[in-house]
């Protein structure tokens, strides 16, 4: 069983993962949760429901927007879409994440 990152880190990175997912294409809630799990290779096993407060938060911050749409098998679903502000944030977060992980790696290597 792979080791799990601590909960706080997971929560912070959840936003990042959602933005990353939506940067590829608009998607409904369940789709996002599936994508996140696929992308993280099952590493981020979390309560799927936790996704929704995160989506709401991102929407309130103007990073994503949402609209009603229809799924492949013709069901009403709320589709989320990344905004320009969301893309900028994603870029910044990825950059700082990279910097941070590089720094962390460097530290870990010297030890």
């Amino acid at each position: 069983m792979p080791s799990r990152p601590p909960v706080d880190a997971l929560r912070g990175s959840l936003d990042l993962l959602v933005l990353k997912t939506l940067s590829l294409s608009p998607m409904h809630g369940w789709g996002i949760s599936q994508r996140v799990q696929q992308m993280s290779d099952g590493e981020f096993a979390m309560n799927q429901g936790s996704l929704y407060p995160a989506l709401q938060r991102l929407e309130q911050d103007g990073l994503i927007t949402s609209d009603w749409g229809v799924t492949d098998n013709n069901r009403q679903a709320r589709y989320y879409r990344i905004t320009a502000a969301g893309r900028r944030r994603l870029g910044k977060e990825v950059e700082s994440w990279n910097k941070f992980s590089a720094a962390l790696e460097a530290v870990l290597k010297t030890t």
């Binding site: 409904h28 809630g29 369940w30 949760s33 599936q34 309560n47 799927q48 429901g49 936790s50 929704y52 407060p53 709401q56 938060r57 929407e59 309130q60 911050d61 103007g62 799924t71 069901r75 009403q76 679903a77 709320r78 502000a85």
Partner: protein, 891 residues
């Protein structure tokens, strides 16, 4: 703009609460369905199992819902709605307190709102015309003598030529003439000779026909008139074919060319308009004009002002000496009629006073709320122990205050609107003419916002201050204290002062209302010395010149002769009417205000410069009024011509000025004011009559009558003795007058006893307002006193119980407990009596009668009684408590 998006999203979420809930439910449902289908498909699970596992993967649905709701800001909303619910429940649970507090606050808010609205309507009224705020006036201002100088036609011509930033510069001159229709009806109307462009300034199209046009202004052109809606309806029965009909306006035949719509009374309260024809050759020194126009679209008031200043300098360069310092100035339209600058400070102070009054009322209500809140002290202590922060508790009490204040604001606004409406009606009745068209009996949006501000201010006082005081010390200590009993809050020294002041004010308020009422009643029912209700009165006015300003009579003598002729012809005709018993006139009629004149007595230096009331009357005045001459003789027609001045004095003159000595044969000198030159002629007192309702500034009634002929009187007021109801002769008088001379104007046609009463309408209104205010003040005060005192005593229940248990004498305990309230109340009553005495002195009234004195004593005793009751009831309850129960109290 990230913050903007965020705020918008939050607001949308907050207000679309229902939609957000259903969206969340739908999303969650779809998620679970998709997950279950996915599990069935991928893992081949049966539907039930797939659904179970989907639920597990999702996590606690309710928890996530809560998280989403919290994120939406609904937690705050829920708390708020809970507070509101709680507040409303409290309002219902304490109905008396709610009633009193709402009545008090509503009164405070209504008073504040009325004050503000009146200030707005006087200082910066909005003109209810299209872009009314761009209508401006131009007037002359003498910078040296600091007052307004009338603008004549030459000013108007010069300004019109030089001003480009004020368009359609127009002028108007108001006048009154009889409007005489084909059916012989002749009634005075308030008309204006006005530039045709003024209709463009007003931007109101005619209802029928046309407005005035520039062509109408040519001297010598056909005479035309535009009539107002009221005249059209009343004098022409709303005839749709009125345009083209001819009528007479005073002496001139004129053709109706248009009818203006209802409510149009531009420039002030006018009902008919004729073209203003300017004679450029004789423009300088013409009668004064109102000059106004519209700021052009491109211009700001400052630019127009600068242009006018420059024009003013050019005009002044060629002006005469007396107008050296006179400059035109641009003012808001309404300042042409009423310079609000003069009263602005007074109005502002008045508003400060009213807000202070509202704050005082709020402070009173805060006391009530405080007493109630402290009785919930344990509840509050428990709540804070359970984790509610101070802010949270303060917020809750604020919401309670807000609920109360909001209720009061609703009532207050309705009351304010009613008061404004009735107040304006009263003013119109009192002045006998309509108020200007820009007066409004509804509240402006600014005033409503002001009311909201007052409401929040009030809510803060009645909610937050008690809350802050109650949550000041730590909750822990409070909890301990309240469970241990006793202690807690006590109304100490500050409260003694507050309660004493409260009682004093309460005592004073109804007393003031009572005195005012008595004064009004005394004024209204003052004995005028003859049966005034048997007389019809009217004011006569004679046209001196044509509408264009050309005098009808070549000389003043010719005018006087015409007045004399018309008056005697009118009297001859009126007296011939069967129901008329006599006709006379005076410049001022009994029951109305009379001016003060100064007199010197022939042989007494000490009477020099004393004020007496004065009236000029027809020789037959006393005879027609049925007022017997008590000493000496009455006036005769010969007194008018003899050139030897004679006067008649009234009884008060004899007692006040002469100390009861015989006046007949003595001589006096009369002058209108202290600084007017002392006249050469001495006038002989030839007779004495009883007091005939001369009203001055105070209660003194010494008066002097001079004989006068109709053409010399400054105003010609008729008094007609009628057999039967005077009002029944009113229409006939109009007819007779128009038969004598159609242009003869009859104003203020009413029974003589109503002439005086008119002046009292406003006072009567004020008296009623004061009575209502007193009742509210009384109610609020008594409730506050009762609740505060009852509360003080109730807080000591435990102490009383313990004392009694330990064997203290019940009566002594009662005495100890009541000592303080009794002292507070006595102090307040004593202070109140001083205030009442001051009011008495201030009104310069006679000493109170035995009944009034008794009333005041009964009144103070009533106050004392209520206050004592407030103490006795809870104390008795405390004395009756079983010792064992005492220890449980407050636990």
């Amino acid at each position: 703009m990230k913050w903007y998006d965020a705020v918008r999203a939050r607001l949308r979420l907050l207000f679309a609460r229902q939609a957000a809930e259903s969206r969340m439910n739908q999303e969650f449902r779809l998620h679970l369905e998709l997950e279950a289908e996915h599990l069935m498909h991928v893992k081949g699970l049966p539907p039930d199992e797939a659904r179970r596992q989907a639920m597990m993967a999702f996590g606690g649905v309710e928890t996530h819902k809560e998280a989403v709701r919290d994120g939406r800001g609904l937690a705050w909303f829920d708390r708020f709605s809970l507070d509101v619910k709680l507040a409303v429940r409290l309002l219902v649970r304490y109905p008396l307190l709610t009633l009193v507090a709402v009545a008090g606050m509503a009164f405070g808010i209504a008073a504040g709102v009325c004050g503000f609205e009146i200030r707005t309507q006087i200082v910066s009224p909005s003109i209810p015309l299209d872009e009314g705020s761009r209508i401006v006036g131009v007037r002359n201002w003498d910078g040296e003598r600091v007052h307004v100088v009338g603008s004549d036609e030459s000013d108007f011509i010069a300004w019109r030529e030089q001003l480009t930033l004020v368009t359609d510069l127009s002028a108007a001159r108001a006048f009154q003439r009889n409007l005489i229709t084909d059916d012989g009806r002749s009634e005075a109307v308030a008309a204006a000779a006005m530039s045709a462009s003024a209709f463009r300034v007003a931007r109101v199209p005619p209802l029928l026909g046309r407005t005035l046009v520039e062509a109408d202004e040519h001297p010598g052109g056909p005479s035309v008139i535009v009539i107002g809606h009221d005249i059209w309806r009343e004098r022409f029965a709303g005839d749709p074919d009125v345009v083209g009909r001819t009528v007479r306006l005073g002496n001139e035949q004129t053709t109706v060319v248009g009818v203006m719509p209802e409510g149009f009374t531009f420039p002030v309260n006018h009902d008919a308009w004729v073209p203003l024809r300017i004679n450029a050759a004789a423009a300088a020194g013409s009668p004064a004009l109102l000059v106004f126009g519209r700021l052009s679209r491109q211009a700001s008031p400052e630019q127009a002002r600068a242009e006018l200043d420059a024009a003013g300098l050019r005009i002044a360069a060629g002006s005469r000496g007396s107008r050296e310092h006179v400059r035109p100035e641009l003012v808001p339209f309404v300042r042409l009629f009423f310079d609000s600058e003069d009263v602005r400070i007074g109005l502002n102070l008045g508003n400060v006073f009213l807000v202070t009054l509202m704050l005082l009322v709020a402070a009173n209500v805060a006391l009530l709320m405080f007493a109630r809140a402290t009785s919930r002290e344990s509840e509050i202590a428990v709540r804070s122990a359970l984790g509610a922060g101070r802010g949270r508790i303060v917020a809750q009490l604020f919401i309670e205050g807000l609920a109360l204040a909001a209720l009061a604001a609703g009532v207050g606004l309705a009351v304010a609107r009613f008061a404004l409406r009735t107040g304006q009606a009263t003013m119109e009745l009192n002045s006998g003419q309509p108020l200007p068209f820009w007066r409004s009996d509804s509240l402006t949006p600014t005033t409503v916002i002001y009311a909201l501000a007052l409401t929040i201010l009030g809510a803060t006082i009645i909610g937050v201050f008690p809350a802050l005081k109650i949550t000041r010390s730590g909750g822990q200590a409070r909890l301990r204290q309240s469970t241990a009993g006793g202690g807690g809050f006590r109304f100490g020294g500050v409260w003694t002062v507050v309660i004493a002041l409260q009682i004093a004010t309460t005592l004073m308020f109804p007393a003031a209302a009572f005195f005012f009422h008595r004064w009004v009643v005394a004024g209204q029912t003052r004995d005028v010395g003859f049966p005034a209700d048997a007389y019809l009165s009217a004011r006569l006015d004679f046209d001196r010149e044509s509408i264009a300003g050309a005098p009808f009579d070549a000389t003043e003598q010719a005018f006087n002769a015409r007045v004399r002729r018309l008056y005697s012809e009118l009297v001859r005709r009126v007296v011939a009417e069967p129901q008329v018993a006599g006709v006379t006139f005076a410049d001022r009629l009994p029951g109305t205000g009379h001016p003060d004149w100064q007199i010197d007595l022939d042989d007494e230096a000490r009477a020099a410069g004393r004020d007496v009331l004065s009236a000029a009357v027809a020789p037959n005045f006393f005879e027609v009024l049925g007022a017997p001459v008590l000493a000496g003789r009455g006036f005769t027609p010969a007194d008018l011509e003899s050139g030897r001045g004679v006067v008649i004095v009234n009884q008060s003159f004899v007692t006040e000025i002469l100390g009861g000595r015989n006046p007949v044969g003595r001589r006096i000198r009369l002058r209108p004011a202290e600084d007017s030159p002392i006249p050469e002629t001495w006038r002989e007192i030839v007779g004495v009559v009883r007091d005939l309702g001369m009203i001055g500034n105070d209660s003194r009634q010494a008066g002097v009558y001079q004989p006068i002929s109709p053409e010399q009187a400054s105003a010609l007021r008729l008094a007609i003795r009628v057999r039967g109801a005077p009002q029944a002769f009113a229409a006939r008088l109009q007819t007779v007058a128009s038969e004598v001379e159609p242009t003869l104007q009859i104003h203020e046609l009413m029974p003589l006893d109503a002439v005086g009463a008119e002046g009292w309408v406003e006072s009567q209104y004020m008296s009623r307002v004061l009575a209502v205010l007193s009742a509210i003040a009384l109610l609020l005060s008594l409730t506050t006193i009762y609740s505060v005192l009852a509360f003080t005593v109730a807080r000591r229940t435990r102490e009383i119980g313990i004392r009694v248990t330990l064997g203290a004498d019940r009566r002594r305990v009662l005495g100890t407990i009541l000592r303080r309230p009794v002292a507070q109340v006595s102090l307040g009553i004593a202070l109140g009596m001083v205030l009442v005495a001051l009011i008495f002195a201030g009104l310069n009234e006679s000493a109170p009668t035995a009944t009034e004195a008794a009333l005041i004593v009964v009144y103070s005793m009533l106050m004392m009684g209520v206050c004592l009751l407030a103490g006795v009831v809870p104390t008795r309850r405390a004395l009756a408590v079983e010792p064992a129960d005492v220890l449980r109290i407050d636990a």
